[in-house]
């Protein structure tokens, strides 16, 4: 078979698949067509994330698995980069999804938006291929510009950084121009300012520095001030909008809540940055400032749970999209437990001295990223698919409801199971490697070889598989839910 025939076959297969999904794009406005493009890539990258997570987890148990071909470092890099990128795709998608509705007008720069989508997607594909097939380079600037910057979470080479900034600026232009043409609201204002901060922070991660203390100082500006400040506020915005749409909560109430959340989140999260400045060479005052402010970070997360649960309860959980509401509630709790509780547990310097850089961090990282950010994106995938199907019924007695319920269960139980396994490993490491053996090379391996660590890695693997199974079911459900449904969506009454 030559290349042309191969393309033909692939195209035919794709067509069959598209016909099978029976999704009608004419149900979507232009802005929302763009949004679902982002959602589709997000789901594909989510799949890649878990695939490479499974490979990395396997290497903890069988270190020779793919050794020399796809080493742990490569798999882990793809795992966490796919995560960061799919979540950003999801957030961009969510923003485009609510933009026209919130501004009550059509997206201004739709052409740019589409172009930006393709540029970004091709860039992401190239970066991933280079990660997988070139992997590493010589110790010089060329490598940092073209292959890999070697900095956890923001490994993307410099050329891609610049591309990302350009794309984000286009996105930002679209948001601002659309609100300006249509109408501004409290939600719109918070969203816009937050996006400025989110994009601006990325710049802090775009420089090479030999002084590793300075380098990590700026690196945390990106990582921490993203996930514990700007991303939190972004999901606050998204939640505010979805509570209005899903439950019909009054605008005045969600806007007031949103301002409260912004005050609490930025008031604790910005200086909470200091919990990463305990041990990287930075001055001692960070022990106090970082410890104090980061210990306050759970407060806004409690507020968010109260908000979501109270609103749902006061509307007797009556809503037009059950899976989406279930994931919104999973978000409120996941955010609170993963970020708030798990984060708080290791955030004071007196304990962080021992837990820093152990599986403890990984335990928190998994529950927090999943609980706070995977969940809310999944909720939006469900909102999107319902609309795409033509606003069909997705409340009680929906067809094949077991699928979304099982996907919800498997994903959540899987991640919680991994979190607990990693927590056990982390405690053991903090105790044996850090406290008793003083973090030496041999101390590290005594902890890694300990039976409780080893069995934790096996448990993590099985719960990982459960998570992965949950994702596959989720994808199947997203593709089929509401297919053949004739009833129209339940109407939500505004307060």
């Amino acid at each position: 078979m030559n290349a042309k025939e191969l393309c033909g076959v692939a195209n035919a297969k794709l067509d069959t698949f598209v016909t099978w999904t029976a999704l009608d794009r004419s149900n979507l406005s232009d802005g929302r067509k763009l949004a679902v493009n982002y959602f589709i890539v997000a789901v594909i990258l989510f799949f890649a994330q878990l695939l490479f997570g499974m490979i990395a987890a396997t290497q903890f148990i069988f270190p020779s698995f793919l050794y020399g071909w796809l080493d742990f470092s490569v798999n882990r890099m793809v795992h966490i980069n796919a995560m960061v990128v799919w979540m950003l795709y999801g957030f961009i998608g969510c923003t485009y999804w609510l933009l026209e509705d919130e501004s009550q007008t059509e997206i201004v720069g739709l052409k740019f938006g589409k172009l930006a989508f393709w540029v970004l997607t091709i860039a992401v594909a190239v970066v991933v291929l280079v990660y997988l097939f070139i992997q590493i380079g010589a110790g010089n600037d060329t490598t940092l510009w073209l292959i890999n910057e070697g900095r956890e979470y923001i490994e993307a080479p410099r050329w891609a950084d610049i591309g990302i900034v350009a794309v984000v600026l286009t996105f930002f232009y679209n948001v601002v121009a659309t609100f300006s043409k249509g109408k501004w609201s409290g939600i719109a204002g918070v969203l816009t300012l937050d996006l400025v901060a989110l994009a601006g922070l990325y710049l802090a991660g775009m420089f090479y520095m030999t002084n590793i203390t300075h380098e990590q100082f700026w690196w945390w500006w990106v990582i921490h001030l993203w996930v514990e400040a700007t991303w939190e506020v972004l999901v606050g915005v998204i939640m505010a909008w979805s509570l209005m749409k899903l439950l019909g909560v009054r605008r005045k109430i969600v806007t007031t809540w949103l301002y409260i959340e912004v005050a609490l989140m930025f008031g604790s999260g910005i200086l909470g940055l200091g919990h990463h400045y305990f041990w990287i060479g930075t001055p001692e005052y960070w022990l106090t400032i970082g410890g104090f402010f980061s210990a306050l970070e759970p407060i806004p997360l409690v507020a968010m749970v109260v908000h979501a649960v109270y609103d749902s309860g006061s509307h007797a959980f009556k809503n037009g999209n059950h899976p989406a509401l279930a994931w919104v509630i999973a978000h409120a709790f996941g955010n609170f437990f993963g970020a708030g509780v798990w984060g708080f547990m290791h955030t004071l310097p007196q304990i962080n001295l021992y837990t820093h850089g152990t599986q403890w961090s990984a335990s928190h990282g998994h529950l927090a990223f999943f609980g706070a950010y995977a969940t809310i994106n999944i909720a939006f995938f469900y909102l999107a698919i319902q609309h795409w199907r033509g606003d069909v019924w997705m409340s009680g007695n929906a067809q094949n409801a077991w699928r979304w319920k099982w996907a919800l269960g498997l994903l959540n139980v899987g991640v919680v199971g991994m979190t607990i396994a990693l927590l056990i490993a982390g405690y053991e490491q903090s105790f044996i490697e850090r406290a008793v053996e003083g973090s030496t090379w041999s101390g590290y391996f005594s902890a890694q070889n300990h039976p409780s660590f080893q069995s934790a890695m096996v448990w993590r693997w099985f719960f990982g598989l459960m998570t992965f199974a949950g994702l596959i079911l989720l994808i199947w459900d997203l593709l089929t839910i509401g297919k053949g449904e004739t009833r129209k969506m339940a109407v939500v009454e505004a307060e």
Binding site: P63, N148, W279, G281, Q429, A435, S439
Partner: protein, 200 residues
Amino acid sequence: MNEENPLWASESFWKKVAIWVTAGSFIILVVLTFDSLSQTEVGGKRVQAYSVINKKIDYVYKEDLHKFMPVIGETELLFGQEFTEEEAEKLVTLGKKTTQAKNCMNCHTLLGNGAYFAPDLTKAWLDKGWLSKELREDLMIKFLLDPENNARTFGSNRKMPNLHITPEEAKGVVAFLKWMSSIDTNGFPYNFKTIYATEE
């Protein structure tokens, strides 16, 4: 403000609070950032000049401070050579770029940040795994050039892959690790016994 809409429930009040709290926190952060960056310039008290690679570096518990601190001692040359500040900077820079280009951070932690598949590198230069201060440099270079055949897996079967590091890059990495071990990290890692502690 009327009875039905007290201050604490008013939208415009919380909007102002949000703006002031955010701006205030950010300004404090910027001020602290200037201070921290200047206190951690290379050549200061917390982050040593690159030429510290010409010196003996140790890490010991200070009773009065209740924490471990790096101690810079007498001359102890690296690769039998005395580096000027510029030469040292060049070598450490090569080493740092190599650690990024080879993606060390996605298996190891540096200053405790990174991945958890391999040991922390913060004080790797001081690790007693290098047997003695006479053998250390050679062992490190050999290991970096061919980790597969010089692996010390401590029974874990986990081996560092061959990252095609050149001899010059390996020297750079060793210099970088030596320099990094002299950074004052507020006592992290705790209870670390150095290669010197074991020798004496």
